[in-house]
Structures are given as C-alpha cells and as structure tokens.
Symmetry: C3
Subunit: 279 residues, 3 copies
C-alpha cells in the first residue's frame, strides 16, 4: 500500500501532513506507526529523498499522539541494501569543488537522519525481512526491538568500500557486542547471519522466514498495548545516559565520512564496485 492509500487509513493530522516520498510507504495500524521501505527493484537502497522522508516520518511519529510504537520494515527480498551508491556515482568524474559540495550535502542529510533515531521518543521496532547492508545495519542499536527473518543477513563493508562507520555504530556496536565483535563487523567487514546477529545482541529474535510476518506482527501488537507513558519513560531512561555522547559521535562520524567521500580510496572502491555490479 502506498502513501496515497495510507492517507485514507491514517488518523493523525501530523501523519497526513507528511509529503509522499517515492520508495517509502507510511501507515497507521491501530497504535502502530509503520514505515515500509518500498523500492524492491533496488533492494530498498536509500536515495537522498528517502533519507529525508524517513527523517520527517520518524520525527512526526515521535510526536504523534495517536500511536505508541514506531516500526520500520522492508518490501520484497531485501530489508535494505543501504546507501544507494548512485548517490555518489558522480563523484568519480566530478571536479574537487563539486565533490566537496556533494559530500557536504549528503553528510548533512545523513546526520539529520541518524539524529532522528537518537531523539525518537517512542519504542522503535525494526522488522528485518531479508538482507540488511550498511546504514540499515548500523542504526539497529538505536532501536528498542529488532526481530529478524532467518533470511536476513547483516553486512557493513565500510573499509572495503573506502568509507567509515556511521549512525553512531563506532560507539554503539562495541557497547552492544564488545570491541572485538564490533571491529570484526565494522572494520574487517564480516557478513553475519541472523542467528549470529542474535548471538551478538544485534537481533532480539529470529523466526523462520515463512512465519516471520505473522510472529513479528503479534509481538509488535502486544508491545503497542503497554501503558504508553511508562513505555516512553522506560525508553527515555535507557537512552538518556548516552544521548549526548551519541549526538557528539554522530557529528564526528559525519565529518569523517564526508572526508572519506572526497578520498581517492573511496572513489576507486566505488568505481570498482560499480563496474563489478554491471558485469
């Protein structure tokens, strides 16, 4: 169901007020604000417009009084293949100043996107229906509940692509799974299964793919029925000790990746990736 359809079912003015964005479906079902990545032909890769639409949707959901829980999931085989590298395809041929401007702009968009997770006031649930790559993995520790199909995999090949971790993962991943497990994923670039992600604390529960939608839906529905003030206050207590640090790390990681996007290592790695993809 697209945004147009959802506008008929959604009940909050602040939700209706959101502009439709290609690749994103928004819906309100009972007490659940649901964001669905819907760009399956590109494995739900995130365009700059989708980043902005997600930021707006998260911020609106955070304040929406008609819902108690915010959910993000994907359509098709993938959950999300991460940053759409076509966002940076121009980098290889552009002049230095143009590259700098593009990196600056993309960094600003990404920083606001991550900040929307840091500041989200409601329980936030991710339903990982399939492979997750890059920034769709690194934001996971900023959720409160992550449920995954056993068809999901998790991959963040930052160093191999000449880039660097974002979404506060340089801080949250070591905190979540320990320094060595974090470095193995963020630095070595190891791809892990849903079961392995659960062992590392990156996923709460894994379900057989055929049962995933139904099982996850039941858990989210129960979650949405908790006393809403208490749920928000529990979440606030869990987030507050880290909020300032997360905001600082978001800024540092953004500066770092903007510099990376202007580096020859990154340009060479993206060019090699693009050429492999076309074969």
């Amino acid at each position: 169901r697209g945004v147009a359809a959802e506008q008929q079912t959604s009940s909050g003015a602040s939700v209706l007020g959101l502009d439709p964005v290609s690749g994103l479906d928004l819906s309100i079902e009972d007490k659940i604000f649901k964001i669905t990545l819907n760009r399956p032909s590109k494995f739900n890769a995130l365009t700059l417009e989708m980043y902005k639409g997600l930021t707006d949707a998260l911020n609106a959901a955070s304040k929406d009084k008609s819902t108690t829980v915010t959910v993000i999931t994907g359509t098709g085989k993938y959950y999300c293949s991460g940053n759409d590298l076509s966002n940076f395809a121009a980098l290889a041929t552009a002049g230095k100043e143009e590259i700098r401007k593009t990196a600056e702009m993309a960094g600003t968009v990404m920083q606001a996107y991550v900040q929307a997770y840091i500041d989200h006031e409601k329980p936030l649930v991710s339903l990982i229906n399939g492979p997750a790559v890059g920034i769709s993995v690194t934001v996971l520790p900023l959720f409160d509940l992550v449920l995954a199909s056993d068809a999901a995999t998790f991959h963040t090949p930052f160093a191999a692509l000449g880039q660097s971790p974002e979404a506060c993962s340089s801080y949250t991943f070591p905190h979540l799974m320990g320094q060595l497990n974090a470095a193995e994923i963020l630095l070595v670039g190891k791809k892990i299964t849903a079961e392995e992600a659960q062992r590392r604390g990156l996923v709460n529960q894994v379900f057989p793919d055929t049962e995933f939608a139904a099982s996850a839906s039941k858990i989210v529905s129960a979650f949405s029925k908790l006393p809403p003030q208490s749920a928000k206050i529990c979440k606030k207590l869990l987030r507050d000790p880290h909020r300032q640090k997360l905001t600082e790390i978001n800024a540092i990681e953004t500066e770092t990746i903007k510099e990376r996007w202007q580096s020859s290592e990154c340009h060479a790695a993206i060019a090699a990736f693009m050429s492999r993809s076309k074969k």
Copy 2:
C-alpha cells in the same frame, strides 16, 4: 536459621549489632556473610522493613572484618518476587498528598538500598534458587558473581505495571547485555529462563535445581578463600570507573519512579494486578 540463632554463631560485633527483621535471616559461616530472604509465603517479596534490613546488613557486611564474601539467597520456591505491591496498595484510594508522601518515603528507602550495592566493598554473590522478579533482577549487575538454579526465571514487567526500571538497570543492563537485549527485558518486559539469562551475561553459571545448593556452596567457599585484600582491590578496580555514574543514575531513576508511583497509569496497572491476583 533465624537471626537469633545466627547471633550465637556470628563473630563480629558489627553483625551482632544488627536488629532482627521479619523476613530476613543473617548468618556468618566461615568467611561468608549470608543474607537469606525468608518470607516464602509471599515468595520473598520485599517489604519496606526488609529493604531497610537489607541495606543495614549490606553496609555492615561491607565493613565486617571477619568475613570476605557477602551472599544473598532465598528460601522456598522463589528467590524473590520483588517489591511487595502491598507497599503501594493504599495508593489507589489515598489522596494526592498522601500518595506523594508514600512515594517520597518509598523512593528514599529504595535509593539507599541500591546505594548499598553500589558501595559494597566485598565480592558480592547472588544464589538464585528460583524465580526472580523486579528489583531482585535489576540489582544483579551490581553483584560480582550470580549462580542460578535452572528453576530460576527473570522478569521485570515495569512498563506493563506503569512503573520504570530501578537499581541502575537503565545503565547496567545495556552495559551488560547490549541495548537491544536490555530493552527487551526492561521495556518490552520479556520473561527469560536461567539459560537465557546466562547467554545474556546476567547469570554466570546455571545448575540443575537438585544440585544447585551443593554446587553453589562449593564455589562460594573457594571464592571466600582468595587473598581478601586482593579480592577487594580487584572489585574496587572493576567498580570505580562506574561508581559516580551509578550514583547519579540511582538518583535519576528514583525521581522517575517516584513520579510513576503518583501516575494514574501506575495506579490502574497495580489495581488490575491486585484484582487478577485475588481471582
């Protein structure tokens, strides 16, 4: 064995100086200061008197020169069913000012109780003989060793009861098991088994129920024979980097739960729980 019996076996004046408290047994066995929750008819739920007695006992054990290790365990089927909700039964019918005073008083008692764990100078061992609920779970990361029977379960349904996490768990649980596993327990309210608690780092070792007492006793005995100064210094090194933060979080969580206890969400949830319990 009750306090009266123990007074004959205990060797330190500071232990003998402790007033007897209904529901608590204190004993000194060799180098071990043992606190036993003994209110099995109420599943070892904690009355305000028990909180105060435990605080005094922990503080006395911390300074006692005749013992090297402090142990807490329970009598009967339960380890501890947490806060005795009858502490708050009056809230439903009382006037606003009376509720405020009760919340203020109970908050002060609980804050001192938690601080006694933060500041305890000796190795602290929990022997979880059966189900653990609420604050008996949330204090566990403030111990140094947690051994459990496979009859134990762990449950902290704070949000469902209109309340909020205490005992520094909003800080210690994410540090111990990662943000997502912590939120699943403290926010979603999932009840976990002893095996699952071990996988999450909340329990060190799990034993078949029939072998639990003997196996745990052997481990505690060996633990109590370590060079005592070195053991205290190891513990101090492990605690010091977090002590100030723990003290701050204890204060923040106390303010939060005092406010929760005065909320209509909490009153409705407790009333519903009480009425379910009576059926």
Copy 3:
C-alpha cells in the same frame, strides 16, 4: 626465524632499526608486521626485556608505512604464560626500599607496554596458538581481531596471586563481556576455553588446532589488503571514544599493581606458586 633472519626480509628502515631482543622474533611478510613470542621453554613468559622490545616493536609498526596490519602470535605449545614471575622472585627476600624500586620500575615498563596498544594506529591481530595467561589475556580487548586455536585457554588468576588486573582490563572486560562475566574471570579467576572465550566476545573465531595456522593466515592476509587509510580511520573511530579513559585506567591500574607487588599477600602468593612450580 629470529630477528637476524627477519632483518633480511623486512623492507622498512624503522623496522630494521629495532634492536634484537631475546624471546621476540619480528618479521615483515607482504603487508603484515608480525611479532612472534619465541621463548617456548618458558611458555613464552614475558621478561622485562621482552616488554620493552614489544613496546618498541608495536610503536614502530604503528608508524611503519610498508605494512597495513600488525600481528602478535606465539611459538610452541603456549601463546604466552604472562608476566615472568622470576621478574619478581627477588621480592620475597629483598628489603623494603629495593622492593619499592623494583615495583616502580616494573610498573613503568608495563604501563608503557599497555599504552603502546592503546595508541596503536593500525589493525592489530592476535593469533592465539595455545594457552594464554595474565597480561596476554588482559590486553586482548585492545586488539581488533582475535583468532584462536581450540587448544587455547584463558586464565587471569590475579586475586589468587595477590595481584590486580592490568592492561585496562578492569575497564575493557566489563565493556566487552558484561560486569558479571568480567568479574568471574578477573576476580574469581575462572579459567575458560577458547569456545567460552568466543561466547564472551574475547575471541572472534576458533579453529581446530591443526587448521589454525593456515586458516588464520588466510584471514590476516585478506585483512591486510583492505584500503589502508579507511582501515586506520575505522579503527580510530572505534578507539577514540575510549582512548582518554583507557589512558587514565592504565595509570590507575599501574599504581594499584605497584602497591600490590609491595604487599605481603602478593609475596606469600608468589612464594607459594614458586614452591609449587618447583615440585
């Protein structure tokens, strides 16, 4: 292969400039700077000269432009049996002032050694070929990748030896595996297997002993081929949030262990250990 042999294969002047140290082999193979503990008759126990040699080698490798990854491993059955207690054999019979001077000197050497890990700028890999004891275990969370043979075990009996944790382990171990798992190892002194170390996040991957060298070599080789600037920047992002705290903790732990080395508990424990070893 000893240092002399290596000097013929190494390509960087800063590597060649290192003085040979008995018990340490240095080599450069492709993009890999390899440090091998080679004192198998003493289970690769670390003499004060080896601490200094390792510190110099780590600092040189960190700045070396010809290599991208630094690796530490051991020769023979053991990875490393930790601090050579003969470093402290004299303590039992020496006078107070002599003991103070020895403790002061050894503490300074150890602090510089640990700081070399904290400040190392390149991906750092440990290949644990067999049992690891004491400081060879406590530094592991300062690596970026730890691969182990299933013949490896991990043991840090600090309290039992009248000593205290070093190498920032009082901070890194709770961060890595949670407070309770950390205390069980650092305070209770439990020895764990490679599989258990992996479950606790202290080891990334475990291999059958016969396949260890070949499997590890393949992983390290792939790791060394990542874009080097990106790899260094990823590592820097992961380390920076903790670098100041690690440096502070290193100083605190050093002061603590210097005091321990002058304590009668420590002298008695080392004397007992030495006398057991001789039987």
